[in-house]
Symmetry: C2
Subunit: 791 residues, 2 copies
C-alpha cells in the first residue's frame, strides 16, 4: 500500500501531480491515461522517455498467441488474445541547443501535471534547464476526443526562459515500440507480442504522415495518422519523413526569450478486420481532415461541453471529505472514458489504460461498470450490451463445445472467443452469462428502450436462459441444481449450487420468460414456445438455495460451512493468499477472495430477509480477505444495508482510492475500472441504499459521520432523478417525466417532476461492526476525512 | 479394438507372431519388449528398421523439461521429467552381397517371433531373399538378464540359403536416435527431448565399444558398452570404430551355403546422478567383462533358472481357455519384468516398454502392481517401497509447499518430484499416499519383514498419516472430513469426502498407529507421541462415509448421487469421453471413468456389508465407462464377489488382453503394467475371492463356465500356499511354515504344511448381471473361450 498523496494534490475536479517520482511513472501513466473507449493513450510524457510502460491502445486490436498446456483437455481454448501496443502518436521530442529534453538530465526547475476531469484533458508544464544551461518552459495539453471518436490531439508549446534557443521538434508516429516484457509470460507468447505490427503502408505529405500496419497473426489492419498546425517565428521550417515503423515531422526554429513555438498535433486512428488497406488509410486520413477542420480550440471546447453534459447526469457530490470526493469523481471519469465511445466493442477490465489482464473484458463490465453507465450514460451501456449481442454466434459455438444449450459467454476475451486457460476459474464461472442477462434487464427497466430489448436484449436473455436450463437439472425432489460451477469468489471453485450463480440464473430464466411474453413474435422467431418458457419458470421456481440450519446462515455453495476454517492468524503476512497457497487449499476451506453470497445479497436482495442479510454478512465478513479489487464496493453496499455505515464508508474509500493510492501495487498495468465504477456503486447503492429489483427503485440513504452531504443523479427513462442526502433527511427531485414510484427506507411514495420530496432519515441501528480476517481490516476512515485541499 | 490374434499364435507359455504386419510394428515392440526393471529394450528388429517407436530405457534416466502454463498458480510444478530413449545397443545391421537386410525390400520368405516366458527371451527367425536374389536365414535370441542386472545380450546368426554370400555385419551403439515426435507435445518440451544426450566419452578396444553421455538438463551420466564374441569361417575379420553418438563393430566374412556367422553381443548399461565419468565408464565395462565371462549359454541358462523359480511361486493356471491362460501369464511376465530388478527406482505405468505417460510412475504401482509382487516376488515389492521411502524428503517438501503436514507422494514422477501439471487430476489425488501406506501394510503382513517395517515402513506410514491428519478436519459433529480431493475416478475431481480416499486414509491412520505401537522406540525417533497416535485413531474412527438413504447406496463422494445423470444414449459413439467432453461436464455428472467406490469395496471390503456391496456395485456399474485401463480388473473382483462370476470373467479377459489385443489402441506407447498385473488380481482376488484385510487371508473361489480349473500360488512368510479351484470344490495346500488360518467362503480353517484341505464351493447366486453404459458392455467371454491352440 503506497503512501497517501500530499494534500496540495487534492482537488474536487482535478487529479494533480505536484511532485515527480520516477519510481511511480508507470502507475501515473495509468492514472493519467486518456481514453474515449475507442482510443487509449497512457500518460507517458510527450518526449517519450523516461517512461514506465508505454502504451497506446485501440479497442478491439489484439494479437493472437498460443495458450500452452502441459496437460491439455477437451475444450481448452487453444489461442489467447492479447491487447497490443499500437502505433504511438504521442511522441513529440525536443532538442534545445542540441540537447535532448529529458528530465533525467539537466535541472527540472518545476513539473506539474493535471488531469482535468471537467475539461477532459491532461495538462503538463515543465520548466527545465538543459545540462548546457538553457532553460525552457514546455507545456502541453492532450485530449482524446469524446466527440470525434477517431481523434486525439495535443497542444504543445515551448518557450525559452533565459535567452535565445535553437529548437528542433520531432513529432512522431512510432510502431513496434520496444516494451518491457513481463517475466511471468510464457516465452512463446512474449515472442508473439514482441513486434506484432507488420508495415503495410507508409506515406508522408507536408506535415501529415500515415502508417498502416497489420497485426502479424490476427491480421487486423491498424491505421494511424498525424497532422500538424505549426505556429512559430519567421524562419520556422518543417519537413516530414517516413519509414516502415516511423513517421516523423521535424520542426526547426530559433526562438527568442518570450517567444513561443506552438504545435497543434492531430492524431487519427482506425482499424478493421474486414476493410481493405486503402479503406483503412482513407478512414484515418479523413478523420484527420475533420480534426484539423475543427482545430484545437474547437476540439477542446466540444470536449468540455460533452463533459458538462455528462457530469450533469452522473456527478456524485460528497461534502466533507475532499479526498474521497476527488477519488469518486476520478472513478466516474475513468469509467466514462472506458465506455463512452466503445461502441460495440468490449469494455476491458483496465479500460484502455494498460495491458493488465491481457486487455480482456470479464464479468466486471456487466456487474460493476454497466450500472454506472446505465444510470449515467445509457447509450454507452446499450453499446456494451450490443457488443455482447454481436458475440452470440461465438457464445453459441462455445456452448456447443461444452455440450450445453444456448450461449455461454466467455470468461475473458477481447473479440468474443473464450481465452481462459484455467477452466476452474474461467469456463466454470458460468455466472458471467447471468451477469450479462442482469445488465440487459436493468438497462431495459431503466431506459425503457424497447427497441433494444426487441432487437438484442431478448436474444441475449433467451440464449442465456437456455444455457442455464441445460446446465442445471432437477433432482429427485424437484429442486433445480446447478452443479460443478464457480461463483464470483475465486477462492472457491467448481462447487454445487453456488447461491450467487443460482439466484442470478433464476433472474435470468424469469427475465427471459418475461421478455418472451412482452415480445411474442420475436420470441417465436427465436424458437421459443410455451413449453420452453414453462420449463424456465419451473427451473427458476425450484432453484436450490443452500442454507445451514445449524448456523442460521446461507452456504455460499453446498457444504461450504462444513469446510475447514482458514487459519487466518497463521497467514497474516501472506496476502494475497493466492501467491502463497495452492488453489486446492484455498478452494476447500472457508476463505473468500471476494464477496460471493454477499454480492448475491446486493444484486438479489429480494431473495433474502433482513435478518438473513445481517447474519450472512457477519459470517462471511470474517472470512473474506479482499484479495480481489472487486471486493470493497460490494462490502460497502451490504455493510450499509445491514447497518454498518462507517464500515461501508471505509470500503467505499478503499474502492475509490484503489488506483490513486495504488492499493494493490498493480496500477502500473492499468486502472481498475470495476473498482472505480464500484466506488459509484458504493455511494449510490451503499450510502444511498439504491436498489432496482424488478425495475422498482428504492432508497435507504444514511451518511457516515465524516460526510455532511451526499448528492447523486440517476438518468431514468430519459429523465433525471437527483437525490440529496443529509444526516437528518433526504430529498428526491425528478427533473422531468414521471410520475415515478420510489421508496425511501421501505416507505413508498410518488415523485412528480418539479415537486421534490423530503423525508427523514431514520437513525442507524447501534451495531458493533463485525471483524475481518486479521490483517485485512479496511483502513478506517473515521476522523480521517481530508476536508481541506487545493480545490 | 483390434482384431483377435490367429489361433496358431495361442500358446500357454509363448507369445507368438506368425504373421508380420508393418502397421502393428509399434504395438508389437511393446508386447515383445524385454526388461529386468533396470534396462528396457523395446522389441525392435535387430537391423533397426523398419521400426515403430524405437526405445531403450534405463529406469530412472529422464530429462527435465519445462511445464508450460498459460495461467500458472502457486505450487504448480515448474519442471517435468520425461523418460529418454538412451543409447540403443540392439542394432545389428546386415549387408548381404551389398544389399542391406530390410524386410521392406526383397522377399520375406518366412518371419516368426516368439516371446518365451519361461526362457525370458525374444526369438526371431527370418528367411529373406534380397532384391538381387540371395536368400539368407537370420536368427536372433535376445535377453535382458534377470541375474546380471546391467546386462543384456543377443545371440545373432546368419546363414546363406542358396549359394555363397558376402556378409557384412555392423553391430552398433546409437545415441540420440531420431524418433517420431508426438504431435500433441508442447514444442518446447519436444525440443528439450530431441537430442537429450551429450557425449562425454567414446572409446573402442577390439570388439568392445563404450559410450558415456550426459543428459543435457538433468545431468545424468549414462554409460553403454558392447562387446562381442564372433564365430565365423576363416577369414572373418572385425574392426571397431567410434564417434560421439555411434559405436560400431563391423564383421566381414564370406559364407558358403550351410555355414553360419554367429555373433554373441553383450551389452552393459549403467547410469548415475552422482558418480564420475570414470566411475560410470568402469561400471559398464566391468559389467561387460562379467557378461562375457559368463557367456551366452550361461546367461541363457541362468535366465531360465530364475524364471523357473519365479513361475513356481507366481504361476496362475486357467484350464479350459488357452487364450486367457496365455494372456494372464503374459501379464504376470511383464509385471515381473517391470519390477524384478527395479531396485529402489520407480516402477513406471508402462514399465520400461515404452515412453507412454512420459515414463512416470503413478498410484498404479502400489495398488495394482505391488499385490502381485508382494505375493510372488516379495523382494521386488520391498525394493519398490524402499524407493518410495527414499523419496520421503521430496514428499515432505511437497507437503510443505501445499501447506500440509507429513509427506505428500507425487501423483506422477520418475525421480520423486511432483510432475503433474493439472492439479485437479494430479496433486488433488492425494489417495496415492494412502495407496503407498496400504502397500506397506500388505507387504509387512504377507512377509512379516519386520526389518523393513522398522527401517522404512513405519516412516512411510507415519508421514502419510500426518498428511491425512493435516488434510482432513473434524466438522462440528466430530465427523472427520477430507474435502476438495480427487479419488481414483478421473471423471470426478476435487470433491468432498471421496469414500475411497476416506477409507484408505482410515487404513493409513490406523496402520501408522499400529506400527508405532509395534516399534515404540522408532516411533519416538520419528517424533510420534501418544497424543499424535490418539489423534490418528480418533480421525480414523470418525471418518465420514457419505451414504444416500433415499437410494440405499453409498455416494462416491458428497452429493454424488444428486448430480445429473450422464446421457449415455447420446454419447454411445464418443468413447473415451474425455476426448469429446470437457472435464467440467464429466466432473459434475454421474459418470465414472473407472471404479472408485467399487475399488474401495475391494480394498476396504471390511467396511461394507454384503448387501451394500451388491447395491453399490449395481448402481455404479451402470455409470462406469471404463475409459481407464485400471477399470476391468477391479470390476472383475467385485463382480465375482457379489455373484456375477461370468461378468467377472469377461472383465478378467479384458484386463488380460489389453495389450495383446491392443484394446485401447495405445499399446504402441508401452504395455499397461497395472492392467496386466490386474489380470492376476482378477484371477486371485476375483475368481479366487482372495482378501487380506488386516493380514487375514480369506478366499471365496468360484469358476466361470468356461474354465475347468484355476490354480494359483501365493508366497507367504517365506512359505508357499497353492490354491486349486474346480467347479465343485477347492483345495488349499501349504508347502512349508504355518500353521496358517485362512477362510473359505466365510468358513475359517487352519492349514498345516503338507496337509491339503479340500472344501466344497457353494453355488453362485442366480443373479441377472447388471447393465453397463450402452456401448461399454464388456466383450462376452461365455462360449468364446479358445480351448485349442499351438501349445
Amino acid at each position: 500500500m503506497s503512501a497517501r498523496r500530499p494534500s496540495d494534490e487534492l482537488h474536487p475536479w482535478e487529479i494533480r501531480e505536484s511532485v515527480l517520482d520516477l519510481e511511480l511513472l508507470a502507475q501515473r501513466e495509468s492514472v493519467f491515461a486518456l481514453s474515449n473507449g475507442h482510443i487509449g493513450l497512457r500518460g507517458t510524457f510527450d518526449e517519450g522517455e523516461p517512461h514506465g510502460l508505454p502504451g497506446t491502445y485501440l479497442n478491439g486490436v489484439y494479437e493472437t498467441r498460443p495458450l500452452p498446456y502441459a496437460e491439455a483437455g477437451y475444450g481448452f481454448p487453444e489461442d489467447g488474445q492479447t491487447v497490443v501496443n499500437v502505433t504511438n502518436g504521442k511522441v513529440i521530442r525536443l532538442l534545445v541547443d542540441d540537447e535532448p529534453f529529458d528530465i533525467r538530465y539537466g535541472d527540472l526547475l518545476s513539473h506539474r501535471r493535471v488531469l482535468d476531469m471537467r475539461a477532459g484533458t491532461l495538462e503538463r508544464e515543465a520548466e527545465w534547464r538543459s545540462p548546457a544551461g538553457q532553460a525552457v518552459r514546455v507545456r502541453s495539453v492532450r485530449l482524446v476526443s469524446l466527440v470525434q471518436r477517431s481523434v486525439a490531439a495535443v497542444l504543445w508549446e515551448v518557450e525559452p526562459l533565459d535567452g535565445p534557443a535553437r529548437i528542433v521538434v520531432q513529432s512522431e508516429l512510432v510502431a513496434n515500440e520496444v516494451q518491457p516484457e513481463s517475466p511471468s509470460m510464457d516465452p512463446r507468447a512474449a515472442a508473439a507480442l514482441r513486434a506484432p505490427l507488420v508495415n503495410e503502408f507508409a506515406g508522408a505529405l507536408e506535415e501529415r504522415v500515415t502508417l498502416v500496419h497489420r497485426t502479424r497473426v490476427s491480421g487486423l489492419l491498424v491505421g494511424a495518422a498525424m497532422d500538424h498546425a505549426v505556429e512559430g517565428p519567421d524562419g520556422t521550417a518543417t519537413h516530414s519523413e517516413v519509414e516502415d515503423d516511423l513517421g516523423r515531422v521535424t520542426v526547426v526554429t530559433d526562438l527568442r526569450e518570450g517567444s513561443t513555438l506552438r504545435l497543434e498535433k492531430f492524431l487519427a486512428y482506425g482499424w478493421s478486420a474486414e476493410r481493405s488497406l486503402p479503406a483503412v488509410r482513407d478512414q484515418v486520413e479523413a478523420a484527420l481532415v475533420e480534426a484539423r477542420h475543427a482545430g484545437w480550440d474547437e476540439l477542446l471546447a466540444s470536449q468540455r461541453e460533452t463533459l458538462d453534459d455528462f457530469w450533469a447526469g452522473a456527478d456524485v457530490e460528497l461534502d466533507g471529505d475532499l479526498e474521497i470526493q476527488q477519488a469518486v469523481r476520478f472513478g466516474i471519469f475513468h469509467t466514462m472514458q472506458a465506455g463512452a465511445r466503445a461502441e460495440r466493442r468490449a469494455i476491458p477490465a483496465k479500460g484502455l489504460t494498460g495491458p493488465g489482464y491481457d486487455g480482456h473484458a470479464f464479468w466486471d463490465t456487466e456487474t460493476f461498470v454497466l450500472p454506472l453507465l446505465t444510470y449515467s450514460l445509457p447509450h454507452a451501456a446499450a453499446a456494451a450490451l450490443n457488443w455482447r449481442h454481436s458475440t452470440l454466434p461465438l457464445a453459441r459455438e462455445r456452448a456447443r463445445t461444452l455440450n450445453l444449450g444456448g450461449a455461454a459467454m466467455p470468461w475473458r476475451t477481447i473479440a468474443g472467443e473464450e481465452c481462459s486457460a484455467y477452466w476452474p476459474a474461467g469456463t466454470a464461472a458460468f455466472h458471467v452469462s447471468a451477469d450479462v442477462a442482469d445488465a440487459v434487464i436493468r438497462y431495459v427497466h431503466v431506459t425503457d428502450d424497447r427497441d433494444f430489448e426487441r432487437e438484442a436484449g431478448i436474444e441475449l436473455l433467451v440464449e442465456t436462459a437456455r444455457l442455464w436450463h441445460s446446465l442445471g437439472h432437477h433432482d429427485p425432489g424437484g429442486g433445480f441444481r446447478i452443479d460443478g460451477v464457480t461463483g464470483p469468489d475465486e477462492y472457491s471453485a467448481v462447487s454445487d449450487n453456488n447461491i450467487y450463480t443460482n439466484l442470478m440464473a433464476q433472474r435470468n430464466l424469469l427475465g427471459a420468460a418475461e421478455a418472451a411474453e412482452r415480445h411474442p413474435e420475436r420470441a417465436r422467431e427465436l424458437g421459443v414456445d410455451d413449453e420452453e418458457v414453462a420449463a424456465w419458470v419451473y427451473a427458476a421456481r425450484e432453484v436450490r438455495i443452500p442454507y445451514d440450519e445449524r448456523l442460521g446462515v446461507h452456504e455460499q455453495s453446498d457444504e461450504f460451512t462444513r469446510h475447514q476454517e482458514w487459519d487466518f492468524e497463521a497467514t497474516v503476512d501472506h496476502y494475497p493468499l493466492l501467491l502463497h497457497f495452492p488453489y486446492f487449499q484455498l478452494y476447500r476451506k472457508q476463505v473468500l477472495k471476494q464477496p460471493d453470497l454477499v454480492l448475491a445479497m446486493h444484486l438479489r436482495g429480494d431473495a433474502f430477509t433482513d435478518e438473513q442479510k445481517l447474519r450472512n454478512f457477519d459470517y462471511y465478513e470474517r472470512r473474506t480477505v479482499r484479495d480481489s479489487s472487486l471486493s470493497a464496493c460490494t462490502q460497502a453496499v451490504m455493510a450499509a444495508e445491514v447497518g454498518y455505515v462507517e464500515l461501508a464508508y471505509d470500503y467505499l474509500a478503499e474502492a475509490a482510492l484503489v488506483d490513486l493510492d495504488d492499493l494493490n501495487s498493480n496500477t502500473r498495468d492499468g486502472v481498475h475500472i470495476a473498482s472505480l465504477a464500484g466506488s459509484w456503486i458504493a455511494c449510490v447503492a451503499g450510502l444511498g441504499g439504491m436498489r432496482d429489483h424488478d425495475g422498482h427503485l428504492s432508497f435507504a440513504p444514511r451518511l457516515p459521520g465524516d460526510l455532511s452531504r451526499l448528492a447523486f443523479r440517476l438518468c431514468l427513462h430519459g429523465s433525471r432523478l437527483v437525490v440529496e442526502v443529509g444526516h437528518e433527511q433526504a430529498s428526491y427531485e425528478l427533473h422531468s417525466g414521471g410520475p415515478l414510484e420510489v421508496s425511501h427506507h421501505g416507505r413508498p411514495f410518488v415523485l412528480e417532476p418539479g415537486s421534490p420530496v423530503t423525508l427523514p432519515v431514520p437513525p442507524a441501528p447501534g451495531r458493533e461492526r463485525p471483524a475481518q480476517p486479521p490483517g485485512r481490516e479496511p483502513r478506517s476512515r473515521q476522523g480521517d476525512a481530508r476536508r481541506s485541499g487545493a480545490g
